[in-house]
Subunit: 136 residues, 2 copies
DNA sequence: ATTCAGGTGCAAAACATTTGCATCTGAAGA
DNA sequence: TCTTCAGATGCAAATGTTTTGCACCTGAAT
């Protein structure tokens, strides 16, 4: 619903604009890491500039709305930050499967070995393999 | 030692060339994820082309000599693949600390939740925070 | 209705990385 | 040692992604 979306923007001090709502729309309807170009294609109808999409993605990441996802490819992918999870990525076709596995001890363990950090804000975990389709 | 390095190249069917030895040299003396430009700077003396470095990095990754490391920045970073470990990255200055923590169960747990994969080849884990220096 | 910090479009720039092609070289074999 | 050639390299140009400058526009606060 649009109300949620607007509220989310306002809560982080961002103006509510058609562009931003549309971009968030894409992320909501497409629950997987996507890049600027993909969003651009999805929003062909409403004239929005690719540059605006790039700027919006950066802004959203800074505000904690989006999370950067490493998919080991050319372009920067993002997904909604709300649900913490990790990814299984096919080295062949690039398909991404999301998994909820998350060892909560990871951060603590890592920190216990660290000499340069006092705390850890976040982590990213990606698994790589070849999916069943590509395997066949 | 150069012998090791040459052997490593030959063992994967690559020709032993001054460029390749020099690049491996940089990786050996600098145990952290580095990018093409960094290697280029380090090798200013011996005229080597930046393109060659890019091509070499790709080749080495394919042959399993190097591992791609996601440091959430502009350029592609690599490190010697021989030692499996993970990274703690400062969001401010980009400093990277390596840690040996690795929950071996990670792959198995992930796979147990997957519907699209039969096996996992590798994983990458990165922790993000602000280092003590930047915190101060 | 007024105001203005922040958002957007457009064009151009910046950057990292790749590709085409001619030339060179490592190393295998004679 | 000499020959041979697949693979390695340099150079220039192309690609593709992301950023920046600048003028104009708009959301939202007053
Ligand atoms: Mn997790
Ligand atoms: Mn590990
Ligand atoms: Zn696949
Ligand atoms: Zn730092």
């Amino acid at each position: 619903m649009k109300k949620d979306t607007s509220a989310k923007l306002m809560s982080v001090g961002l103006k509510v604009t058609p562009n931003r709502l549309a971009i968030l729309e894409v992320f909501s309807s497409d629950c997987r890491p996507i890049n600027a170009e993909y969003i651009f294609q999805k929003l062909q109808g409403q004239n929005i500039n690719l540059v605006t999409i790039y700027r919006t993605l950066s802004t959203f990441e800074e505000k904690g709305i989006l999370r950067f996802v490493n998919v080991h490819t050319d372009s920067a992918h993002y997904e909604l930050a709300e649900h913490h999870h990790h990814h299984l990525i096919c080295k062949d076709c690039g398909v991404i499967e999301e998994i909820s596995i998350c060892n909560k001890l990871l951060d603590k363990d890592a920190l216990s070995q660290s000499k340069k950090f006092n705390f850890i804000e976040s982590h990213s975990v990606e698994f790589f393999g070849v999916c069943k389709k590509c395997e066949a």
